[in-house]
């Protein structure tokens, strides 16, 4: 009832693990895959090993979570084994990758075996990477094209909301040959400790995730659905089945779930059973609700 084909990948449900969550080890990806996710996305992987920013790197705030992990990763050269372990669970494993230029991206995509690649051109707090690239349509188009040349598997581009017009970036990804876009990465944010005046995050600022950003993400998905011909994958602030349905009505063909996994490791099973009951009760299919907000 919840199964679908997304950019050629067969998924048992439209609920995927978002990049950066439980995604560094094959064991953790496998655990999430076995607890009901339709697919899992790895931690963003780069060319060289990277330790990330100093702690605190993630902190809960009143309306969500702020993080500035700083793209810690073991490099693609040490990561195939983790993907292979994750694959044992039998769901697609998507490798999130990042780089400073199109050569970095194509080097990684040419070497790693994954079911798809998600290009991180949207991390808001890593100097020279992520959103510093992803706010520039020409770079996004070039990188997407380079990765498409380097691999035969689907290529998704994850977009930053920290731009004036996300549609321009989505269109650039589409021109570069992207098979889908993913929206959104975290929203730039900051928290300051009033006892001392210190910014709380080791990196001083970071990205906001969780409940607070859902309406921002819904609007981005809504706009991208109108502007693009390729599928839109929604992410940002999902913790319940109703959030997923809202994203799909805005135009998402599938979604990714991140921060909410922390408090409910079984969230994928929970949401899929709630979604099934909802669709049954409404006598709707996934196709019916996909983009519904544009059709009523």
């Amino acid at each position: 009832m919840l199964s679908l084909t997304l950019t050629g990948l067969k998924l048992k449900n439209p609920l995927m693990l978002a990049a950066g969550i439980m995604g560094t080890t094959g064991g953790s990806l496998k655990r999430i895959a076995e607890s009901g996710a339709g697919a899992v996305v790895t931690k963003s992987i780069g060319v060289e090993p990277k330790g990330g920013h100093s702690n605190p790197s993630m902190v809960e705030v009143d309306c969500g979570y702020l993080n500035a992990m700083g793209l810690p990763n073991p490099s693609y050269k040490n990561f195939q084994g983790e993907i292979d372990i994750a694959k044992e669970a039998g769901v697609p494993v998507i490798a999130s990758i990042f780089g400073g230029c199109s050569l970095d991206f194509s080097e990684i995509a040419g070497a790693l075996r994954a079911d798809a690649f998600e290009l991180n051109v949207s991390c808001p707090h890593a100097h020279g990477y992520g959103a510093e690239i992803g706010k520039n349509p020409e770079l996004v188009e070039d990188i997407t094209r380079a990765v498409k040349k380097a691999t035969n598997v689907p290529v998704w581009v994850k977009l930053t909301p920290n731009v004036t017009n996300i549609k321009d970036i989505g269109l650039a990804a589409q021109r570069g040959g992207a098979d889908a876009v993913v929206a959104i990465n975290t929203v730039r944010g900051m928290a300051i400790d009033i006892e001392s005046g210190y910014p709380i995050l080791g990196n001083k600022f970071g990205g906001l995730s969780g409940r607070a950003i859902k309406p921002v993400a819904i609007k981005c998905v809504y706009d991208l659905y109108e502007a693009l011909d390729i599928p839109v994958i929604g992410v940002g602030g999902i913790s319940e089945a109703s959030d997923v349905i809202e994203f799909m009505m805005a135009g998402a063909q599938a979604v990714e779930i991140g921060s909410a996994v922390g408090n409910n490791i079984n969230i994928f099973n929970d949401i899929s059973s709630c979604m099934e009951s909802f669709l049954e009760e409404k006598e709707w299919t996934l196709e019916d609700i996909h983009g519904m907000a544009h059709k009523v």
């Binding site: 439980m22 560094t24 605190p56 790197s57 810690p72 001392s196 210190y198």
Partner: protein
């Protein structure tokens, strides 16, 4: 939660390398739980609570060195307590502590003894001077000591005391991973719990940096039953801040 401001009210030298920092803030504590201690401008580290209002820390790196620069009236930020803590069951409890690993076990000894359980502690350290919280364990029950240099108790590792330890119904262990692995290999895994140390980033079960296989040390742990660890990477490899495997 955002970090809570905790003012240091007292600093006690426990051993030449280990200090206890007392705070003006108390936490409702299950022994074995940890807090994230933010040394502002430096780093944030996971630390076991050794009292409901204190942490006991060994100076090992740049962040703990920065913490050792702090004194009375200075403050740190604290998030937590996080994690599960030890599950105290009825019956004779055997504690196996190595070095600063005694920090989370001392409040456990006190809690278990206060609730009428028989407590025996095997306490190990490099030298006599490095034995941590010996008096607290002695107040809770029998203590047997091992030192690497033989300056107190038996000459050797605390794991050598295991052979004579009989008739306990549960074992709680904290110390260097190699020592804990030895304990795991020599006891009934289902009777034993181990408090693990891993590189922790978020502390709240989201990022996955501290995962041992699929288990989050910060949220599903830091205390795990031996039978779960038996078939895991425990004692074989850990991961560095990049997520690369590093042999233990």
């Amino acid at each position: 939660m955002r970090p809570v401001n905790a003012v240091i009210t007292k600093v006690v030298d426990e051993t030449p390398t280990i200090r206890t920092f007392y705070f003006d803030t108390s936490f409702e504590l299950i022994p074995g739980q940890f807090v994230m201690v933010w040394i502002r401008g430096v780093d944030e580290l996971p630390m076991a609570l050794s009292y409901e209002n204190a942490i006991t820390v060994q100076k090992v790196g740049h962040a703990t060195s920065a913490l050792f620069e702090l004194g009375e009236c200075d403050s740190v930020g604290i998030r937590g307590p996080f994690g599960n803590g030890f599950d105290i069951k009825n019956g004779h409890i055997l504690l196996v502590a190595g070095g600063v690993g005694a920090a989370p076990l001392a409040p456990l000894a006190e809690k278990a003894s206060a609730s009428g359980l028989k407590v025996t502690t095997l306490l190990g350290a490099k030298t006599k001077e490095e034995l941590l919280f010996r008096e607290r364990f002695e107040a809770a029950g029998e203590v047997r000591v091992a030192t690497d240099d033989g300056s107190e108790g038996i000459h050797g590792y605390v794991t050598q005391l295991l052979d004579d330890a009989k008739n306990y119904s549960q074992l709680c262990c904290c110390g260097p991973e190699i020592m804990m692995k030895k304990v795991l290999d020599n006891v009934a895994p289902s009777k034993a719990q181990f408090s693990l140390h891993r590189y922790i980033k978020c502390g709240i079960g989201i990022c996955g940096a501290c995962c041992i296989d699929g288990l989050r040390v910060c949220k599903d742990g830091p205390v795990f039953q031996g039978d779960i660890l038996k078939k895991s990477e425990f004692g074989v490899y850990r991961r560095n801040e990049c997520g690369e495997r590093v042999m233990v």
